[in-house]
Symmetry: C2
Subunit: 189 residues, 2 copies
DNA sequence: TCATCTACTCATCGCTTGTTGAGCCAACCT
DNA sequence: AGGTTGGCTCAACAAGCGATGAGTAGATGA
């Protein structure tokens, strides 16, 4: 049997369970509809403990929806890998962020910063006129695809297997872009 | 000077001001963050009057974000017109609906129903394999464009004039449906 | 072993929310 | 003119929220 955990271990375990619970709740219901009480219940702790760990609901959301680890995420370097990754599913912290990006100003800002960065990167490897605009269209198309499949659950996008949707989406995005597409790319979304 | 308005006129005027105020508040802050008190204040009436008119906050949102008039909207019959319309700006009731589509289940359902319909229509005039999937990609791309320009306010999409963005977006979309495009289309989004 | 420290809970506060019912006042009808 | 209707407001309620501070129990270290 495992010996009783040390106090630091216990603390860390609680911290992670609280953060996981917060990500799940924020991802499922959005910022406003998520209550500290619900997060605490899911984590199996007292609501006051959540406050002790994070200080406020806003700070908890900031920690739960952090973008830091996402930038250098599992997302591959090629645009096709990004599409495949987004079609397969979103990591919990991104899910929480996207869920609230239209209703929480701070989330809107974070998402804009994140996407603007992706647009700038993609535009750098996009030749021809209106490079930035067209890069933005690609980024927004992937965003729309993500929303349609995982949040709105559109029939045409939800039913297909990840492989099918991913394949068609990649072909659709690549269409007629005889202008771009160097062999090595930067991470995009 | 105008004679004192009749009781029915007064009632109708209040009803419209309440509905306009509700649309503006829901569009700006989303369902959860919008309060009956804020709607009433914007309309210049007592909160209780809002309740008397609509019965509940949920019913008010249902009335404010109605899709009925949108389906046969100003949106033209050609896909290009839809793009131009979406780039130019959203009507208030659609704005309110989109704002809350990720956080309010009923809004999610309404949006799914709306977009699924658009996908089905567009798929009907899309030749080749994976017609429905590719139609869904087009619809989601326009959704993403709308979000990027009016809600997330991405730099690349917000700065450009409506004409420029619309023109580049139409060309970008046309390149991705080179096989389709009969001269006359059905209304899409 | 015993005092201390700390992770955690309990009870509760103040506030805001949606919602309600009683009451007021001007328009209405005869 | 005078009783009645109805649009509207006022005051308040119950519920749920985020947040706080005191208290408890068990691990910790000398």
């Amino acid at each position: 049997m495992p010996s009783s955990p040390t106090r630091a271990e216990q603390r860390a375990a609680s911290a992670r369970r609280i953060l996981d619970a917060a990500r799940a709740e924020f991802a499922a219901h959005g910022y406003e509809s998520t209550t500290i009480r619900a997060v605490a219940a899911r984590a199996g702790v007292d609501p006051a403990l959540v406050m002790q760990h994070h200080g406020s609901k806003a700070a908890l959301f900031r920690s739960a929806a952090r973008l830091d680890a996402v930038t250098s995420e599992e997302v591959g370097s090629h645009l096709d890998d990004v599409v495949a990754s987004r079609v397969a599913g979103l990591p919990p912290e991104l899910h929480a962020l996207v869920r609230s990006m239209l209703t929480v100003p701070e989330a809107t800002d974070a998402m804009r910063e994140y996407l603007d960065d992706r647009v700038a990167n993609l535009a750098r490897s996009t030749p021809g006129p209106d490079a930035e605009l067209r890069a933005a269209l690609t980024v927004c198309a992937i965003l729309g695809l993500t929303l349609g499949r995982h949040f709105l659950r559109l029939g045409a996008l939800e039913q297909g297997s990840a492989e099918d949707v991913s394949r068609v989406a990649r072909a659709w995005l690549a269409a007629r872009s005889e202008d771009a597409e160097p062999p090595e790319d930067r991470p995009e979304d």
